[in-house]
């Protein structure tokens, strides 16, 4: 099968925020169709990595490169990355009073459709499509007609992220602790959303602290990020090991790759 271009290729990535270096030479390759899990202690730089990939202006890339299906991702504005199929489910989704959830999602979908040269969906067509997706993630339609995330419970916010993912059908989805704080039913729904999207063209990076999610969505690879670098990588079994022994075990027993 030769050696196809990876969907995501991160080389020696360095990034800082607020004048502090957070990512310190990070390497990661994700091929099309793969599901990767990234675990690691609090403050190790997982969300910072997600932010760099989605283009948050407040994080400054100071070195290295990121290629997304062969193109220089760091050159693109956040919205260009989004319409090109990159999606970040935020660890802390923002509340935006006064912007209707449904309007926002329609605008997001139509931006992507425009990029693909497709006609925009009108209100009715969008609603039909959204209803189908809402079923998939057992989403209460009432939330669609409220202001974006405003007053949503923690779990509702996470489901809203997954609904957006289901609607936008990204090529590369990055889930930043989407499983944190969810009860078991919600977790199952999130996992279901990810599994439904799973295909040979699409890839997912799941940032998580818990093995629980990985029971539902079995990853192809598990990486451990510590102090701004990937310090070890392995298969799904690595997550079990971590769950049992904690991250301290890494520093003592596992040699860097």
């Amino acid at each position: 099968m030769g050696n196809p271009t990876p969907l995501l290729e991160i080389r020696d990535l360095r990034a800082s925020a607020g004048g502090v270096e957070i990512l310190k030479g990070l390497n990661l390759t994700v091929n099309a169709g793969e599901v990767h899990a990234i675990m690691g202690p609090n403050g190790s730089g997982k969300s910072t990595l997600a932010n760099v990939l989605s283009g948050r202006p407040s994080v400054e890339v100071t070195g290295g490169s990121v290629h997304y299906h062969g193109i220089d991702l760091l050159e693109l504005a956040p919205e260009q990355r989004a319409v090109d199929g990159l999606f970040l489910a935020f660890q802390y989704p923002v509340e935006i009073p006064g912007v209707a959830n449904s309007y926002f999602m329609k605008a997001a979908l139509n931006a992507a459709r425009k990029h693909r040269g497709e006609e925009p969906l009108d209100g009715m067509d969008f609603l039909t499509f959204a209803r189908e997706r809402m079923k998939l993630v057992e989403f209460d339609e009432k939330l669609l007609h409220r202001s974006l995330n405003e007053g949503f419970s923690g779990g509702e916010k996470k489901r809203n992220e997954i609904l957006q993912m289901a609607i936008l059908e990204p090529r590369l989805a990055i889930l930043d602790e989407t499983d944190s704080g969810l009860d078991i039913d919600a977790l199952r729904i999130v996992a279901n959303g990810v599994n439904t999207l799973r295909s040979p063209e699409r890839s997912t990076i799941m940032i998580t602290h818990y093995q629980r999610l990985l029971d539902y969505v079995v990853p192809d690879f598990v990486h451990v990020l510590a102090d701004g670098q990937i310090v070890t990588s392995g298969g799904a079994e690595l997550a079990h090991e971590l769950e049992k022994k904690g991250y301290v075990w890494l520093q003592t027993e596992v040699p860097a790759p």
């Binding site: 283009g55 948050r56 989004a82 935020f90 989704p93 935006i96 006064g98 202001s147 957006q164």
Partner: protein, 459 residues
Amino acid sequence: MSAEQSHSQSHFQSHFGAQFARREDEFASASPAWLAPVRRAAMQRFDELGLPTRKDEPWKYTPTSRIAKAAFLQEPRSESGLSREDIVRIFGEPAADCSLVFENGRFTRSLSSVDALPETVTASSLAEILRDDPDQVQRSLSVRADSLTRPLAALNLAFVHDGAFLSIGSSRDEQSIELLFVSTRAAGVANLRNIIRIASGANAVISMRYASDLAADASVEDVRSAGDYLTNAVTSVELGDNAELDLISVQNEADCALHLSSVDVEQQRDSRFRSHLFAIGAGLSRSEVNSVLAAPGADCALNGLFLVGGTQHVDNQTVIDHASPHCSSRELYKGVLGGRSRGVFNGLVRVREDAQKTNAQQSNSNLLVSDRAHVNTKPTLEIYADDVKCAHGSTIGRLDEDALFYLRSRGLDERSATQLLIGAFVSEVGEAIPHELVRAHVERTVAAKLATVTSSEIA
């Protein structure tokens, strides 16, 4: 005061003084005898007061030199050759049962629709009333000169000649009326005096919309040399017992306009007054809304939105005077400022000694969408009664970077995301307009302005 400023101010005064002397005869032939001494006293009062300067507290942040320097060379011709189609082009399709059109400060009957009015309603021009039935307005215009504290209101009274006269009697149906003011000359003064009376138990929705159509003006090529034009509008509103009025003011004049307007309201028992003010246009504008809650049970809501960019200067002044017990008021002004624009909000809520059981809420929040824009906000409560419930506050903020990033990360470009966030910030002001057609008009005007302000912020 700089020497230059004082020079242009005295020029301004002598200019109007000379014009007043020249036009006194013309005024005398078109107005009742009792108005002549009122005019003269008002002119004298204007001379005494002079143009305000920045030393006058309510004018602290607004450069009156710009008003003084303007070259008010000619009285504009009133007829501008606008057609009904032009009016629709400028203001959109009619949004009310009845509309009065004023060109350069003068009523144009041929462009107005005042035919379908019920008997309980009089909608006419002040010039016609002064000619045909002046007794109707004698009380409203016989203002004692020493009670005039605002120089431009004094000037307005000295030159009073036209404006809208609306008298709404009680009926089962709500009346909706539009007053459309259009300026077609990039020079001169549109001096407008509107008198609005809502009788006991009556109920009305009145829009006042100010616009410019300078394309019709041959001299518009050199607007700069022609100088600014001035709209000086004074509106008095009387609300009888249990009367109700929604007054929508949309000021969307051209950049070369100086717009000065005041709305002075007196509210009787159990009356309800809601002002919805949109200050969007004009190079320099100052909009005053003042309401006196003169009898128990009166309720007043002042909503406002100022949305400006470029080098616009927008000044908002409000006074809510709780002069009786058991009245309530709510004030919400929002400001959005882009470019190098300047905004002022100066709101006073006064609760007099007798006004026990007053409930007053006042707030002003502002969004700066450019680093070079600036706003001064001063909400003030002056409370002399002891059994009251009052609160006030103001904020100045910038667009939430996290919200902006969230929207962009979903594919909305920076401009759309910015517009969406500003739109969300301002939307509640428009949503408070009860009349659907009027609301739609206002929301379109606001959206168009929003697009200009954001597109100049985002290259």
